[in-house]
């Protein structure tokens, strides 16, 4: 259970009141659980917050009545709060989007999730207006990874590292599969690097389940990208057209310039990644400052190499 701040507590109470009012003597335990409300504050908040609510002239019939008996509670005269507050657009979207995502992943064509989503969509007046695709990864690889995680089996993969532009074969201990930015990833302990690594599933060219089992190392809560302190840094001047770079890639600081452009600092984990970025951006990006590890001649050399294919 998370801690709730003052207005979050009020928001919860506004949902609790109509529910309790519609029951005849709800149990405090059940309220705390159903509304994820801190049990130790529940009694006091019902009596001292909800029980004090009323309207002018605050006669007994214009005030909410809260009756507590042992571990049960009754609420009367709470007609203003007879119904829960409607969902905000964001909240409505969060429920529908989460539900649609999971529905797509599971491929279910019936069941409580579909039932719930249909009812929710009807109540919110939205019908097929929201579609979620978390991204696709080759189904066979995903299935293999899931069974490797469930059974703690070591996997051998041939992986194409986009940043370094090379393919390698390695043994991994998969920990968690997740989607981010439209792609599916697996976080795993890589035996070759002897460290946690994150692999993009669609870049796994071959995958084999090995007979060997591994010891679980925790939940694999690794982010899909993390820079190291000793990675070289580069500072780029981007024109306003290239603003997508800032949204798309993790950066370490950005400044807006007078002409609507940006100065952004990036950590470079692999030079070919930067090469690609700069060749794509062309004149929209200029190197302001680059750490010694980054070749000065990068863009020219890379463009010439690609150009060689066309001559």
């Amino acid at each position: 259970m998370k801690r709730l701040n003052a207005s979050e507590r009020v928001a919860r109470l506004l949902a609790i009141i109509p529910w309790v009012a519609s029951q005849s003597g709800a149990h405090l335990e059940e309220i705390a659980e159903r509304f994820d409300y801190p049990r130790k504050h529940l009694e006091a908040d019902l009596l001292e917050v909800v029980g004090m609510v009323g309207v002018y002239p605050f006669t007994p019939d214009t005030q909410i009545e809260v009756v507590l008996d042992d571990d049960r509670v009754w609420i009367h005269y709470a007609d203003w709060f007879a119904r829960p507050l409607r969902l905000s657009s964001e909240q409505a979207m969060s429920l529908l989007a989460a539900g649609e995502s999971v529905l797509e992943l599971s491929g279910e064509e019936s069941g409580p999730l579909l039932g719930g989503l249909t009812k929710l969509g009807a109540a919110l007046g939205i019908d097929k207006g929201l579609e979620i695709r978390l991204g696709s990864a080759p189904e066979e690889t995903l299935d293999l990874l899931r069974s490797a995680i469930t059974d703690n089996r070591v996997m051998q993969i041939t992986y194409y590292t986009y940043g370094r532009d090379e393919s390698t074969t390695r043994a991994i201990e998969p920990a968690r599969v997740f989607a981010d930015g439209g792609e599916w990833y697996v976080s795993a302990h890589c035996r070759q690097a002897n460290d946690e690594r994150v692999f993009r599933i669609d870049r796994i060219a071959e995958a084999t389940l090995l007979d060997e089992h591994f010891e679980s190392r925790g939940n694999g809560d690794t982010a899909s990208f993390s820079a190291r302190d000793d990675d070289p840094r580069i500072q780029l001047a981007l024109s306003s057209d290239a603003a997508w770079v800032i949204h798309q890639y993790p950066h370490e600081g950005v400044e807006e310039t007078a002409d609507g452009g940006y100065i952004v600092t990036l950590a470079i984990t692999a030079v070919p990644w930067l090469e690609r970025l700069l060749v794509r951006l062309g004149p929209a990006a200029q190197i302001v400052e680059a750490a010694p590890g980054i070749p000065v001649d990068l863009v020219r050399a890379s463009a010439s190499r690609v150009l060689a294919r066309y001559q």
Partner: protein, 297 residues
């Protein structure tokens, strides 16, 4: 909460002053009352509570009054069963949307049912401030106006879709007179709500949204892209097998792709560096060569 009760209770707008005397607990009239009142009002609004402003009846000069319409306050009850609530609870634990609290949304539709504590999230969907007005417009079948690709447009929104890590809007573009896709994070500035939509969503509006190079206003051309064997597996997965025009014995493949946005297409082709070659049409190939020549100079 007393302020909320008073605002829901009143059939007519009430002035700040009469709320002060009716609600109780406020400081005496003056600056400190106004600060406290404004803060409370803001708190309620930030919880999504719709406070409307109207003239206080029989006030001269007219005074601003406040009230909450009980019909606007409450949504319609979806009447979810416990197993449906539990399924939605599991879903909001697996997939998060911005920093919206799934639990608070769930308690407003019936409660947080079932145990999902042992579940690790599998995905996080980004939120965007423009999604709210677009979602409302889809819901209310209203039009919206926004600037996209430097052009001011009026759109009847049909559908929001999340794909490839981005949110897309599909709708009828009154400027172009046809249905178009827009990337929500490329909308410049804020989406402005407009009047009722004048077109209706066609049936069967599903399917994959367009790639970046298909989102444009240029005359469409079909480009042929040769991808080397070491990258062709990924390319087939990404572009779809239907896009394969020719598969070569060495494992490389040619893809036929419709291009409406040449800049975006060039950017895509260059992500392959020297593992791919744009074979045609000659015009696009020439443009790519001159782009590279400039960088290589």
């Amino acid at each position: 909460m007393n302020l909320l009760a008073a605002l829901l209770h009143t059939p007519v707008p009430l002035s700040a002053e009469s709320l002060r005397t009716r609600v109780g607990g406020y400081p005496d009239a003056g600056a400190s009352f106004h600060r406290a009142f404004e803060r409370d009002k803001e708190d309620l609004r930030s919880m999504g509570i719709p406070i409307s402003v109207g003239a206080v009846p029989a006030s001269d000069p007219p005074l601003d009054g406040y009230r909450i319409d009980p019909k606007e306050y409450a949504g319609s009850d979806p009447k979810l069963d416990p197993d449906e609530l539990a399924a939605l609870h599991l879903a909001t634990t697996l997939v998060r949307f911005g920093d919206v609290s799934g639990d608070q949304a769930l308690v407003q539709v019936g409660g947080v049912v079932g145990d999902a504590t042992s579940t690790a999230p599998v995905a996080a969907l980004p939120a965007d401030p423009n999604l709210n007005p677009l979602f409302d417009a889809v819901r209310n079948k209203a039009s919206v106006a926004f600037v996209y690709n430097d052009v001011q447009r009026t759109i009847d929104p049909y559908k929001l879709a999340f794909q490839g890590g981005h949110w897309y809007l599909t709708g009828f573009d009154h400027l172009r007179g046809e249905q178009r896709d827009f990337r929500v994070d490329r909308i410049a500035g804020a989406v402005e709500p407009g009047g009722p939509a004048t077109t209706t969503r066609p049936d069967g509006l599903t399917g994959d949204r367009a790639q970046s190079w298909e989102l444009g206003d240029e005359e469409p051309v079909v480009a042929t892209l040769l991808v080397d064997a070491d990258q062709s597996g990924w390319a087939k997965h990404y572009l779809g097998r239907d896009a394969v025009a020719k598969a070569h014995d060495d494992g490389s493949a040619e893809f036929a792709l419709t291009v409406r946005n040449r800049e975006a297409f060039r950017s895509f082709v260059l992500t392959f560096l020297d593992h791919a070659e744009l074979l045609g049409p000659p015009e696009l190939r020439a443009e790519l060569i001159s782009w590279l020549e400039e960088l290589a100079a």
